[in-house]
């Protein structure tokens, strides 16, 4: 068996004595790859992400990143949370600084750490609001700071938990473009959860589609063979883009009906 950079091996998750949420899930992600997890809500996407992050312990199976087992959470797997999770009593600068100080204490000087905070906030275009508190900036800006905080930790793996889910369509498109630009520039390995088909096709190298829970597992994996850099306007008419989009939609709405419809 070839060694993947991130290797999810036979992961199952069961809460208490209920039916397992995830069942025997296998997935390999290569270095620098952008992989999306898509599925209907309640299928266990977030559970899987939390297991990879180390925030939850799988009942069965293991997650291995760069040869190391992911038992506990750590800064090598930075998470961008859906609701940004910035600390409201700290400024934008201090929120990122907290992460940088923790990860790079002893490795970088005070001056270097300061510059690193600024550099990462520059990456997401937030240097104009260094001294603002999260309560004083918009949802999109908060998510930018959340991304900067995660990037500043120089993680081996970037975990995005529906990072744009709570944003309006225009802000979302804007941030998607920026995440693509950052990914192109830094070559991060990214695992993103989404329920947005366009977002998945636009951003990903591969789309992993989960079956409906309980006992969710991987239903289909789609390679998105589109050249980068990608542009949402030119792609809209691209046959490969349309085909990929159709494949994902077919999976979600033909093979895996949304749970509510099935019940009806």
């Amino acid at each position: 068996m070839t060694q993947h950079y991130l290797s999810i091996e036979g992961v199952s998750m069961q809460f208490g004595k209920q039916v397992p949420v995830l069942s025997d899930l296998w997935l390999g992600v290569e270095k620098g790859e952008f992989v999306s997890l898509i599925g209907h809500s309640g299928c266990g996407k977030s559970t899987l992400l939390n297991i990879v992050a180390g925030l939850l312990h799988a009942t069965d199976g293991t997650v291995i990143l760069d040869g190391v087992s992911c038992e506990d959470p750590g800064p090598d797997r930075a998470v961008v949370f859906q609701n940004h999770s910035l600390l409201p009593w700290l400024t934008v600068y201090e929120n990122v600084k907290l992460a940088v100080d923790k990860v790079f204490k002893g490795k970088k000087t005070k001056q270097q750490r300061h510059e690193w905070v600024i550099e990462n906030l520059e990456l997401v275009h937030m240097t104009h609001a260094l001294d603002k508190r999260p309560g004083e900036i918009s949802g999109g800006m908060k998510q930018r700071v959340g991304i900067a905080r995660a990037l500043a930790m120089e993680p081996k793996l970037l975990l995005l938990d529906e990072p744009f889910g709570a944003l309006d369509a225009l802000t979302r498109a804007n941030l998607q473009d920026e995440v693509m630009a950052i990914h192109r520039r830094l070559g991060n390995t990214v695992l993103m959860i989404t329920h947005d088909v366009d977002e998945a096709v636009l951003l990903s190298d591969r789309i992993v589609m989960l079956t409906n829970g309980p006992e969710a597992t991987i239903g289909q994996v789609l390679d998105v063979d589109l050249p980068r850099p990608r542009d949402r306007l030119t792609l809209a008419d691209d046959a490969r883009y349309v085909a990929a989009r159709r494949d994902v939609l077919r999976f979600l709405y033909e093979r895996q009906r949304p749970p509510a419809e099935k019940a009806a």
Binding site: P73, F81, L87, W89, K102, R133
Partner: protein, 288 residues
Amino acid sequence: MDPRARYRAVAFDKPAPFALPSFNAAPLLAFTKRAAAQVLPPLVMVLLILGIWQLACGGTGSALPPPTKVFKDTWPLIRDPFFDRGGVDKGLFWHIIASLRRVALGFSLAAIAGVGLGVLVGQSKLAMRGLDPIFQVLRTVPPLAWLPLSLAAFKQTDPSAIFVIFITAIWPIIINTAVGVRALPQDYRNVARVLGLSHFEMFTKILLPATVPFIFTGLRIGVGLSWLAIIAAEMLIGGVGIGFFIWDAWNSSLISEIILALIYVGLVGVCLDRLIALAGRFVSKGTA
């Protein structure tokens, strides 16, 4: 083009304002209006109450003095709050300071112990199961009921009074801190875990700042109760203090002095409450 030149050009291009460069009275008027809206209603109510009081107690043979008599009787005390003729014959300032000193000591101890115990009870399920029932029983014991016990234990009046303050103020501080710790969003815990914060860093960088608004709610309730308790305790223990001043005035049938002292007690109580609220806003940097 030099940006400054452009700025200048713009400045000159602007049409001259038509209004005379006279003093603009509108903002001042608006401010006065707002201030009046705040100050006038309570002022009217106070005057109304004083009026009713004057009418009710103005007649001869009334048990309580009317406001005019209170003012006349206590004018020497109001005019000179700083006199000191030794013993307990001191100005009201010294009595209030003595009471405040006891509250400051007892309340500070209660704040330290209360936050500590609150964090413990909020963090550990075992500690909560063990301690919470005890807290629930003890917190219903009235402050003064502790006084005989503390007098027996300390054999001195001052530490006893301070202990009564401590034991009165500590319960709301413990309970509110514990609620705050338990209300810590899971997201913040996740952030701490992803960053790999140690237990100590988790405590100082996440738990404490997130709990500050709750702690200050407890402190505010606690300081109010302290002030209630000290007046009662001082009536029993004697010595310098506003509580004993009131009791002493009663023993000398100086009803006007009692009324003046009550007004001072109320005003100081409000000041204490506002002080803690202000400190809370300062510490939480307005994010609460």
